[in-house]
Amino acid sequence: MTSQQDDNQTAADDYQTYGEIVWGQFKKYRISYWSLYGVAALFVLAMVSPVLAMNIPFYLYVPEGVGPETLQGTSYPWFVALFDQNFFDSGVDIFFNFLLFFLPFAFLTWFVTNKVGNPAEADPSDPPIGFFAGVGILLAAFFVVVVLLNGLLSKEVALALVGIGITAVVVRAATEKTDERGRRRLFIALATVVGTIGFAIIYYHGFRQPFVDYQALVELDDGVRAIFPPIEYSYRDVNLLATSEPPSWQHWLGTDAIGRDVFTRILYGTRISLTIGVVAVGIYATIGIILGSLAGYFGGRVDALILRLIEIMMCFPVIFLLLTIAGFIEEASVFHIMLIIGLTGWTGIARLVRGEFLRLRNQDFVQAAVALGFNEMRIIFRHVMPNAIQPVYVAATFGIAGAILIEATLAFLGVGPPDIPSWGQILTAGRSTQNMTMILASGFAIFLVISLLNLIGEGLRDATDPKLRK
């Protein structure tokens, strides 16, 4: 009986969800479509920047009797340094380094458990191949963690990480969701939870190790073997023998006033810009959605109050407010900047969501939900919200570009930590030392990211507009 009903409700073959329609439309805007790939490429670049540029070798062999005793034999210092909070002092870097490890495993696990042993197609009597494969991958991950990151994590922490992973695979394999969309959603949720817990463990473990000058060690040349990343600089290393150099083969974009490699700094700056954009917009989208939905759904006094609040916030010229708040925080960090942008930028999204809620509130499906006696939380979050959320995506895409621009402007005005490799800071430093390469490179990087994001936003807006359907 149940299966019969399910059959009746199965959609037609050409049925498309709203997301699929928008995606299909979006693909027709070629520039926006390619911009999406551009931003994805930037994200990957941000993730793999330690692979490209770092002054710590992937592989190191030190024969006996050379250098400090602790380094003798074969070691893999690069892998350990990725989570070293002396080397990467910012949580942003540790996070991207974690993703560098985590994302490949997550994709592999998804691929194996989904394609190799699809629980829907597998014969129940067969051994659950997907499950075994997933566990196998996680054991391999465990091996990598213990061997490569030797000394970073205690065995217990590594075991705990793998334990979480195996639980995820078990839950994933045990669920009987048959359609791929549901399984993908479940897997993404699981991977997010596992990733968050894993990152929290690694970050709060607070791993630090003493500084070792590997380049000097290699120059000793007593049988020391090492494989370095292609660009042998870190974004923090000062070299007073090579200050303000013009571009050359050693330093692709030259060096700054205290001898740091500009290309490396711009590369790592991608991480900061993307993080600032996403986190700041995440904060204000959350605030905006909550306030906007309350105003739109309840109307009346709540609406009037929130509208007034929006009006008040909109009266402040953004830069004035941001600069005032940021100027008063002593030693403002990147996270302060994100928080400030997040707390002041929510008005646009709140108005959008309010408008959508006003439109949807009186529609039949909401009335039906009310008639069924659902409570208000359920109606707001399960029924109205999914229909009201789509203009937020467009606003958020433009918002990320805006947040990156605001951060760059604040950095340009001298607010925020002066030593982080943020593009705005590099531009300011270039301007104060009359270094044209730095100005052009960082300015172009900002321009590139902002225009890519704006192009995506433009395409997304047109794709979600039914009047413009191609």
Binding site: I312, C315, F316, L323, F328, A401, I439, L440, G443, S451
Partner: protein, 540 residues
């Protein structure tokens, strides 16, 4: 229409009240102390004169007052005693009991280690902070002395500064309590400290401090106060004064003085209510606000309002020129691309404008400066400022030429970013009306094409773009901050920027309030212009 405008203006009042409250909260809760910044050298204020200057500064800018409510009239002798005791305990030597000896040994060990291996000590310093201090104190300590502070009760430097500042800020309200302490406390050093504190706290603040030119009667009163204050200031004793001298000072000077002025320190219930609400920073802030007086700048001691009025014309000129130029370019461009809809030309222009929109204005400004002003390769334009030095005092025409020469680059930087959005709106506006029946009618009855476009299409199609005016006004104020900073134009934005780094609260407050008022007015104007352009819109 009139009633709508009045309603809007009335609605602006509560909005403005909340805005000024937010600004007050932001400025008062923000960390960082303007008076600490005001100490020119940034060193600790130790000398008497410096302390006095600091106190006067606090008084002048109401920083000695509590933020929201004032309950200082209800302070008890115990509250005051607590603070005085902290100061007294600090000035006594430490007891050389067991605990202190242990700590001392530890400190010595650290010091020795540091001497043995200077590289190993953190930051390469010797015995750091507290340990060093302990060593010094122990060297002075006399094991026979009875008046001493046990190590555990020794106040930290934070507590001392806090106690001193709180006591001084309590000002007049604690005179009776201090007098009681000076008369009755069992410790001689506390009595001594109370007398000295009295000579600070009993002084009265001057009236109308922020008024540069007070009326004669106030001036007379101020002279009176100053005379009394200078007498009171002399009634304190050096640190090594004998107990008898303290007694004598109290008997000879303070008790008679208090007899004479006792009514000053007795508060009726009505007084208390008044003090509770009105003698606070919040009340003073509002008082100044209602007088449209933002107080003096803590930086150059000029009234903030004057500076703002001086600087507003620069920002307004810049903003007005940029808006004008943006509309002059964007509207025809929008109409043109609406006419060439979906052609290659249209797409080309859209892409160009879009790229301009994505180009950060500070980047462009820096590049333009480098290329056209600094001399790599051109020196066509001046590098900054609003008007050239040589043009000051010259005929108006010369001044205008000089100003426009200086403003070309800044206006370009302010304008190009808004072109994309504006022309997009203009284009959509025209496209929305161009297929309307009345346009077809206009064509059908044989009107010329220019007539159709200008009279019928443009007037209706430009309504959306007018609403943008209001939202563009704040953008120009804030957008001009960066441009003013780069081109060194002395407008509001640059003033705010400088004030923030000087911790000049009154100036920041003034700039924020003025800019929000301008935004509110801009929103109102855009709504009104909406109604004027489109007769269909009524606000009833």
């Amino acid at each position: 229409m009139i009633s709508y405008i009045i309603k809007r203006i009335l609605l602006m009042i509560p909005t403005f009240v909340v805005i000024s409250m937010i600004i007050f909260v932001v400025l008062n809760l923000a960390p960082g102390d303007p008076s600490a910044r005001a100490a020119a050298d940034g060193t600790e204020t130790v000398s008497q004169d410096a302390q006095e200057a600091y106190r006067l500064f606090q008084q002048q800018f109401n920083l000695d007052k509590p933020i929201l409510f004032n309950t200082r009239f209800s302070l008890s002798t115990e509250d005051v005693e607590e603070k005085v005791l902290i100061l007294a305990n600090f000035q006594r030597p430490i007891c050389l009991d067991e605990e202190a000896l242990e700590a001392l040994e530890e400190a010595e060990e650290i010091a020795e280690e540091a001497e043995l291996a200077p590289d190993m000590a953190p930051d390469g310093e010797g015995p750091v902070g507290e340990e060093a201090e302990l060593l010094e104190l122990a060297a002075e300590a006399d094991p026979e002395e009875e008046d001493c502070t046990p190590l555990a009760e020794r106040p930290s430097s934070g507590e001392i500064i806090n106690a001193q500042e709180t006591l001084t800020n309590w000002g007049n309200y604690t005179v009776p309590q201090l007098l009681t302490l000076a008369k009755e406390h069992e410790r001689a050093d506390v009595r001594h400290l109370a007398v000295n504190q009295l000579s600070t706290n009993a002084r009265r603040p001057m009236l109308a401090l922020s008024d540069p030119d007070p009326p004669p009667e106030i001036r007379e009163q101020n002279r009176e106060i100053a005379r009394e204050n200078s007498t009171l200031r002399r009634w304190q004793l050096p640190m090594d004064a004998e107990e008898e001298a303290v007694e004598e000072m109290l008997r000879e000077n303070w008790l008679p003085w208090y007899e004479e002025h006792a009514q000053r320190f007795e508060f009726s219930t009505a007084d208390k209510v008044g003090i509770f609400f009105l003698d606070t920073r919040f009340a003073k802030y509002w008082e100044n606000l209602l007088k449209l007086d933002f107080g003096l700048s803590t930086n150059d001691r000029r009234p903030v309002m004057d500076t703002i009025l001086d600087r507003l014309p620069y920002t307004m000129t810049l903003g007005f020129l940029a808006i004008l130029l943006a509309y002059l370019i964007a509207v025809p461009l929008g109409i043109w691309s609406a006419y060439n809809q979906n052609t290659k030309r249209d797409q080309f222009v859209t892409v160009i404008l879009f790229m301009l929109y994505s180009l950060p204005s500070f980047f462009t400004a820096v590049l333009l400066l480098e290329f056209f002003a600094v001399g790599r390769p051109f020196t066509w334009f001046p590098t900054g400022g609003f008007i050239g030095e040589e043009a000051r005092g010259m005929p108006l025409l010369t001044q205008m030429v000089s100003a426009s020469w200086h403003l070309i680059l800044p206006v370009i930087c302010l304008t190009y970013g808004s072109l994309a959005a504006l022309s997009r709106y203009a284009r959509t506006g025209i496209l929305d009306v161009i297929r309307a029946d009345y346009i077809r009618t206009a064509r059908a009855k044989g009107l010329s094409e220019s007539m159709v476009i200008l009279k019928h299409a443009v007037r209706n199609g430009m309504i959306p773009i007018l609403t943008l005016m209001g939202s563009i006004l704040p953008f120009l104020v804030s957008g001009s901050l960066v441009i003013e900073y780069i081109f060194n134009i002395p407008g509001i934005g640059l003033y705010l920027y400088q004030s923030i780094f000087m911790y000049d609260y009154n100036a920041i407050m003034g700039c924020l309030l003025i800019s929000t008022v301008m935004t509110l007015v801009g929103l109102l104007l855009s709504d009104i212009s909406y109604a004027i352009v489109d007769p269909r819109i009524t606000f009833d």
